[in-house]
């Protein structure tokens, strides 16, 4: 018989190992666009992916979902719940929003629809059906789940109840089990049951109808989003929806006239500060009340970018990109005042869209940028990698590598030292997924002709050995490592 003391010690060690493994990854979840409060695009360690095995990547499934043929984002990038113990079994679910105001829960193992929920348009404001590139209509904001990892005035998100325990009483939009939050085109916030897709509580109006809302981010029981441009005359603003009160309380920070925010949505610093990139400023807002904490002037920022928050040598930096293709590095500590200038900026690179970041095992912090246009030997586009380094007492971005040629690449996602980049395709060309060695940029995998349409520009998701994206024909794709069913 094993002595009890030895057994207990062994048990503790096993539990600690499991906890460490989970801590390095995300526990199998990708709860918001970009994966975390900083929208890093980095999954961390994924036991199913390595530089050696990624060559065996496969198209695991593709599924056509109902969407409207308008705009460049018919389907929004999935958010992932790694393990749901539902009344229908253990499930890994990918929640996908569609511009047809539908939220799908896709069984990520089987590639089948677990449930789908049409969010009925239900407000006195008539539904706008005419669309433009800037105001495509329909659901525009990637849904969110509760995102861990940032401090704030409301404390951490409520933990799920223990096995067999009754949930603690709380406001109706956060009490009980984990949920998916989505804002439909009528501006109402839905809290959806992850097992059924049913509204857990009556939806509430939180935004003007027919706005263009950016990807949602729920941190410390507050959902943040940005409306811009002024679709249906909705003001350009940052919004915070406080779920700790009934009904949820909406606060907004209006932008200056003519100022436009990127569509990728806000990011959250370690102390809960909300950062939003607009065409003119990098805004730092207080968590909760969205009071202006500080801002910095930007020179013609990218219209689609969200800022990026990264940690480097115990300091927090905000990274932004501008239309001229420069990457700007801001020291978060200096953003409390006004008009601070970037602590560093790169040479122009024709960067488009958001940035990504990850840290390797040696502690080197990397920034990855999608480049639309010539860079190095890549005539059409590429992924450019930078290292965050100290040079002469200054924090700078040092060019490290430029990938193979790609067409309109999306912001990449990273796991286990592998960068996944999607060449969206241009005109009639098809999208191509690449896996690159994150240290060198060397191509490790190409999907070649497995994808038959150009990619949606909504973004990519990576979780539990699978990379997700969608194409403009409303088809969701999942590439990953084969698992026998």
């Amino acid at each position: 018989m094993i002595p009890m003391r030895r057994f207990l010690i062994l048990s503790v060690l096993v539990c600690l190992s499991a906890a460490l493994a989970l801590a390095q990854s995300r526990g199998g979840n990708w709860p918001t666009s970009g994966g975390d409060a900083q929208r890093s695009g980095w999954e961390g360690a994924d036991a199913r992916i390595s530089k050696d095995t990624v060559k065996d990547l496969q198209l695991l499934f593709k599924i056509k979902l109902e969407s409207q043929s308008k705009g460049s984002r018919p389907l929004l990038p999935p958010i992932i719940m790694g393990r749901l113990i539902s009344y229908r079994g253990f499930r890994e679910l990918a929640f996908v929003g569609s511009n047809a105001d539908i939220v799908y829960a896709i069984d990520a193992d089987l590639g089948t629809i677990f449930w789908q929920k049409h969010l009925e348009y239900s407000t006195s404001e008539p539904q706008v059906t005419a669309t433009t590139a800037e105001c495509p209509g329909g659901m525009t904001a990637t849904p969110t789940m509760s995102v861990p990892g940032a401090a704030g005035p409301r404390g951490p998100a409520a933990a799920p109840p223990a096995r067999g325990a009754a949930p603690a009483p709380a406001a109706s939009f956060i009490a009980g089990t984990a949920s998916v939050y989505a804002i439909s085109s009528d501006g109402r916030l839905h809290r959806l049951n992850v097992s059924t897709g049913d509204d857990i509580v009556q939806p509430v109006q939180v935004l003007p109808a027919n706005s263009r809302a950016s990807n949602l981010m729920m941190v410390n029981n507050i959902i943040y989003t940005v409306t811009s441009p002024a679709c249906n005359l909705t003001k350009n603003a940052v919004w915070g929806i406080d779920l700790t009160v009934d009904p949820p309380k909406t606060t907004s920070f209006a932008m200056n006239a003519g100022e436009v925010a990127g569509s990728a949505g806000p990011v959250i610093g370690n102390d809960g500060t909300v950062y939003v990139q607009t065409s003119a400023r990098l805004l730092a807002l207080n968590a909760g009340d969205l009071g202006l904490k500080g801002y910095s002037m930007l020179a013609d920022a990218s219209s689609d970018a969200s800022p990026l928050v990264l940690q480097y040598k115990n300091r927090e930096f905000i990274v932004t990109s501008s239309k001229d293709g420069r990457i700007h590095l801001w020291d978060a500590a200096t953003l409390n005042g006004n008009h601070e200038s970037a602590s560093y900026q790169t040479m122009p690179l024709a960067i488009s869209g958001s940035l990504s970041t990850w840290q390797d095992a040696d502690g080197t912090r990397w920034v990855l940028a999608p480049v639309w246009g010539r860079s190095g030997t890549s005539p059409n586009g590429s992924i450019a990698a930078f290292k965050v380094e100290e040079q002469a007492g200054k924090t700078v971005l040092t060019p490290a590598w430029v990938s193979r040629d790609m067409n309109s690449p999306l912001p990449p996602v990273i796991a286990s030292g592998v960068v996944f980049a999607l060449s969206a395709g241009k005109g009639g060309t098809r999208a191509t997924l690449y896996a690159l060695d994150a240290a060198t940029g060397k191509e490790l995998y190409s999907s070649r002709n497995l994808i038959s349409a150009p990619a949606s520009l909504a973004g990519m998701t990576i979780s539990n050995g699978r990379v997700y994206f969608s194409t403009l024909d409303g088809t969701m794709h999942a590439f990953g490592m084969f698992m026998e069913h």
């Binding site: 018989m1 094993i2 009890m4 057994f7 207990l8 048990s11 749901l84 113990i85 539902s86 009344y87 229908r88 079994g89 253990f90 890994e92 193992d109 799920p160 096995r163 067999g164 949930p167 009980g176 089990t177 984990a178 049951n193 992850v194 097992s195 059924t196 049913d198 698992m483 026998e484 069913h485």
Partner: protein, 515 residues
Amino acid sequence: MRTLTSLFAITVFCAVLVGADWPTDGGNPQRTNWQRDETILRPDNVGNLKILWKLKFDNAPRQMHSLLPPLIIGQVRTSAGMKQIALVAGVSDNLYAIDADKGEILWKKHFEYPPPARNGGATDPLCPGGLTATPVIGPADASGARTAYVLAGNGQLHIINLATGDETASAVQFGYPNGKSYALNLWGSVVFTTTSQGCAGNPNQMWAVDVNDPAKKVMTFNPKSGGLWGRTGAAIDSTGIAWAPTGDGTYDLPTERYGNGLIGARVEGNELKFKDYYIPSNWAFLLKKDLDMQVTPAIFDYKGRELMVVGSKECRVYLLDPKSAGGADHQTPLFRTQQLCNEELNFAGTGIWGGMASWEDSKGTRWVLVPFWGPSHSEFKPPVSYGPVRRGAIVALKVETINGKLQLTPAWMSQDMDHGEPPVVANGVVYAYGSGEDTTQAYADRGLQDSSPLRIKASTHATLFALDAETGKTLYSSGDQITSFVHFGGLSIANGRVYLGTYDSVLYSFGLPVK
């Protein structure tokens, strides 16, 4: 008619005189659930089954557990003469010896011990604490006495004279308090059990102790999995290897982890040596979906070759060779069926649970009987069935050799029953029951909430069925005569009687009315 009645009475008398036994859960160490010595109950008379007696015990259920399957010894010499004894254990550390003919208690024992420091959760059905392992009865000794081995909830193995209830030797520490042991098995003088679910913080492993060993050394093998929770513990093959499913967990050779599989270990010297294993090739998927390998295998002879069947919540049946389970890579069974049920891939309320059965008919056909919960799989279409199966059923498979390869060929699927439980088979009749248990562990509005009070409230009642073993046709149903449900109980059969204990601590004895 009078002649027939007389013949029947003589048959009953002769059978009882010879005295068939059911000395262990599953009927034998191989866990075939086949009573080979039954002569009274037949396909042509089993339709007349009645409740001969029922007996309410003073055993308090713990969580959803109550009575374990009775063990039957046909001929026990007692101070009151020869008796057929049914030995029934109750989860609250009770042991009852019943005069099986009269339905009266001969003796009763209650195992007393200080409350263990560690318990399962307050409403957790997985870890009830108390006596959870069906006892086992050894062969008659030189004097004809029979010894029962009973594992109390404090982990002490008691050695008891079946005739008197007296302890004939000191108890042996054979596990941890509230460690949730499963049915004991006996091979020679070695008692085996398995533990699971880490109840009260205890390890999940296979256990063995040689009761003839003066040191009573406890031998274990730990596959580092979620738990060895085959309902009837380990099944033992002809070489003495004890086989047990490992529940869920990781399969990783470098760290010697054998989750989601089947392991075999044998006592050699005074060690329990790990001998072989089988891991389904889709184990990672099974782990992710919590589709445990949690069915005690059944081991049997097929045309002179020993074979083994095992299943899982995924609802496939694997045919294995105990000499090399899974072949060289330990992942290649002799045959794997399609999914019989659990199309939804749910971890609760569907799939194969508990154990299986196997028997051979007079023509030499070897049958495997598979119980399952939930709806049958839409693509599983056996040649004979009896209406849609929504809540559970029994499936019969034939072991066949086609083109030189072994396979399991579907023969029939029974009528629908509310959670089809492991059947027993005797004399051309399959006895099965729907447990009536509510097996809900997660809810649409709340998610996971595996709570005994909720499940007890939603449970109904068990129903006993007798099926024609050749065709699966229902020959008898107890309807609503049984008034409570069964959780992790089981059937026993011997000498014309079928026994089933229910949650309300009532033991039912079904048989033919004797005039």
